[in-house]
């Protein structure tokens, strides 16, 4: 363990990787602070910048962008009452109230410090839980992988906010988009419409940028710019001793909750920050303070979402099964560098796994060091009007997609998917389950085929092999949780 972490830090502390980590965190924060850009969009946009880097450096930079963007999201939540992403929506409630009471400084500081604490715990958890989990996963056959992916896909659909049926349909649509291209088993071209550009499948950035960035911009432009920017100066940054005391235990509880939620496939940071907020409200002696600038209401959700963001790397790095949209992007990045994420990564590329783990911690540290003193700068960025921003985002999307294959077809496809994404978003269909389905599609099919072949066309091993059965039961449980409220309503009505 210790020598592994040492190896990791040796990798992460190389001057080059430190520089990329720093660049990632800075760029991520910069973009995350700009209103209306979520971490997924930030990563999708900056993704092409990392193509030319070596794999470790590129992943370190992407992870840095992710933390930075997430932190930037909570900054806007506190100062503008505008959550950069769903995970910081809860932070808005009390964070913005604190800002209005002139306590923006302590709110930002507590958000950063509790995130840092959660980040440290999360990094340690990855270091301790990752390798044994990876070793355990080496025993997985195709049945277990299928069942696990099924559970993750169903969970992501049901637990995403909105209609679970639409979520499941989006997963199916994503799986279909994922299998476009040449079938690896038989060499048949599927759904390529005789376009040579589609024979390698629909590009990963095309889907991510189209569905998230392009569709999101179209949606953002419909609403008036919500401009009640907190323009006052931030008088005092550091929280008082009293503030720190009040936020200690909420931070610890939020971290614990977030770490747990992060590992579960499909749940992710958004759900955990919400759960942490509810927990604090339940535990508080005077719950009516919540919603009026309670510091616990900032500390707990921020800790929870950062812990979940961190432990979300556990299934991603060890099993190759991402649990959230951002993790999907990380897997996409690994695949582009020719690395298949999975249990073999830890054993075969220890410098990659441990390097990323170590750089996560460094990234978190950089966030605190970099961002707290620079709050004033970020505040100024908040005032950039959206009508300057969105054409610039379009530019990044275009150049990014074009540069992947140096081919305009990717830009056309991205535009088309953006249109589809816009229509689906207007119809209240969440894009995240689709993205998860898209990434898992080929993997799922491959394992399914192998499972059927090995069992000579008999599907029963899915239910007779213990680990596979456990995942199947988990899937059933999630589905039951979705159907149960409807059934209960019917019988009582």
């Amino acid at each position: 363990m210790v020598e592994n972490l040492a190896l990791g830090f040796a990798v992460a502390f190389s001057l080059q990787n430190l520089a990329y980590c720093f660049a990632g965190v800075a760029l991520g924060t910069l973009i995350g602070v700009l209103p209306g850009i979520s971490p997924v969009v930030a990563i999708g946009m900056l993704f092409p910048l990392t193509f030319t880097l070596p794999p470790v450096a590129s992943l370190i930079m992407l992870a840095g962008i992710y933390y930075g963007a997430q932190y930037g999201g909570s900054t806007t939540a506190i100062l503008v009452n505008l959550p950069g992403e769903t995970a910081s929506a809860v932070t808005c409630i009390d964070g913005y109230q604190m800002a209005r009471q002139g306590r923006a400084g302590p709110a930002l500081a507590v958000a950063a410090l509790s995130s840092f604490f959660a980040g440290c715990v999360g990094t340690l958890l990855i270091a301790f839980v990752g390798p044994p989990l990876g070793e355990w996963a080496l025993q997985f056959g195709p049945w277990e992988y299928c069942a696990l992916m099924l559970m993750g896909l169903v969970a992501s659909a049901v637990l995403a906010h909105g209609d679970a049926v639409k979520g499941l349909a989006m997963v199916a649509l994503g799986l279909l988009l994922g299998i476009v291209g040449t079938d690896v088993n038989s060499g048949w071209l599927r759904y390529t419409f005789d376009l040579p550009e589609l024979s390698d499948g629909i590009g990963f950035t095309v889907i991510a940028v189209g569905l998230f960035a392009v569709a999101e911009m179209a949606i953002n432009l419909e609403s008036r710019e919500p401009r009640e920017v907190f323009t006052g100066r931030i008088p005092r940054l550091m929280p008082s001793r009293h503030d720190l005391g009040d936020s200690t235990w909420p931070t610890v509880r939020g971290t614990a909750l977030g770490s747990l939620f992060g590992v579960l496939p499909g749940t992710g940071p958004a759900l955990s920050s919400f759960a942490a907020y509810m927990l604090e409200k339940k535990l508080a002696r005077d719950p009516e303070r919540f919603g009026r600038g309670a510091i616990e209401g900032v500390a707990a959700p921020e800790a929870a979402n950062n812990a979940a963001a961190q432990t979300g790397f556990i299934p991603t790095l060890t099993l190759g099964i991402p649990g959230s949209a951002v993790m999907v992007l990380m897997v996409g990045a690994m695949t582009m560098h020719g690395l298949a994420p999975g249990p073999q990564v830890i054993a075969e590329k220890p410098e990659l796994f441990w390097g990323i783990v170590a750089s996560m911690w460094i990234g978190n540290l950089m966030l605190v060091v970099l961002n707290l003193p620079l709050v004033g700068l970020w505040v100024r960025l908040l005032r950039v009007p959206y009508r300057w921003l969105f054409p610039s985002i379009v530019m990044f999307c275009c150049i990014g997609n074009y540069s992947v294959n140096n081919n305009p077809v990717d830009v056309y496809l991205c535009a088309a998917l953006g249109a589809l994404g816009y229509v689906l978003a207007k119809l209240e269909c969440e894009p995240a389950p689709l993205l998860l389905g898209y990434v898992l599609g080929p993997l799922f099919e491959e394992h399914l085929r192998r499972a059927m072949l090995l069992a000579r066309g008999d599907p029963s091993p899915f239910f007779t092999r213990p680990i596979s059965l456990a995942f199947m039961l988990g899937t059933a449980l999630v589905l039951f949780a979705m159907v149960w409220p409807v059934l209960r309503q019917r019988t009582s009505a």
């Binding site: 639409k166 599927r190 009508r387 379009v394 540069s403 066309g457």
Partner: protein, 158 residues
């Protein structure tokens, strides 16, 4: 009041879209791809399965919308301008870049995209285009060395 026309109903429209994709997936797979057997699943097997699932959810959503109460919340209000400006600007970018180079593509892209915003101020867009185009040439072409043609004409390729 209170009722929503069915073609403005979010669930119904989502159901139709899913059904259309599911049906297309099955139809194309059925025409082009061998199904294989349970033991040796062919390239068409999994897509047909997915198409069926997708179609089923589509029918379920549409039927639920037809049968259930029509809540005003279910009404979808389209606003076509922002989305279509952004999408068009991307198509133009893709079309112009290989023909006239990066600068021309970006100028066209910025002006069309900006039309999708709430307000369009010519000078502002001009300034924004100038700044971002310079930035793009500097970072993507000079720094990251992406193989883009910058200006039109054969002799000015970097």
């Amino acid at each position: 009041m209170g009722t929503v026309p069915i073609f403005r109903n979010k669930d119904f429209l989502a159901g139709l879209i899913f059904l259309a994709f599911g049906w297309a997936a099955i139809a194309i797979a059925d025409r082009d791809l061998p199904m294989g057997t349970m033991m040796r699943m062919g390239p068409g097997n999994f897509p047909v399965l997915l198409g069926a699932i997708l179609g089923f959810f589509g029918i379920y959503l549409a039927a639920r919308a037809l049968g259930g109460p029509r809540k005003p919340r279910q009404r979808v209000v389209w606003e076509w301008r922002p989305g279509s400006c952004i999408v068009t600007s991307m198509l133009i970018f893709g079309f112009v870049l290989p023909r006239l180079g990066l600068v021309a593509a970006l100028v066209a892209m910025f002006f069309v995209a900006a039309l999708g915003g709430r307000e369009f101020r010519f000078r502002e867009v001009l300034a924004l285009t100038a700044v971002m185009t310079t930035f793009a040439v500097g970072v993507f072409v000079l720094l990251l060395k992406l193989p883009f043609q910058v200006f039109p004409g054969r002799y000015l390729v970097w």
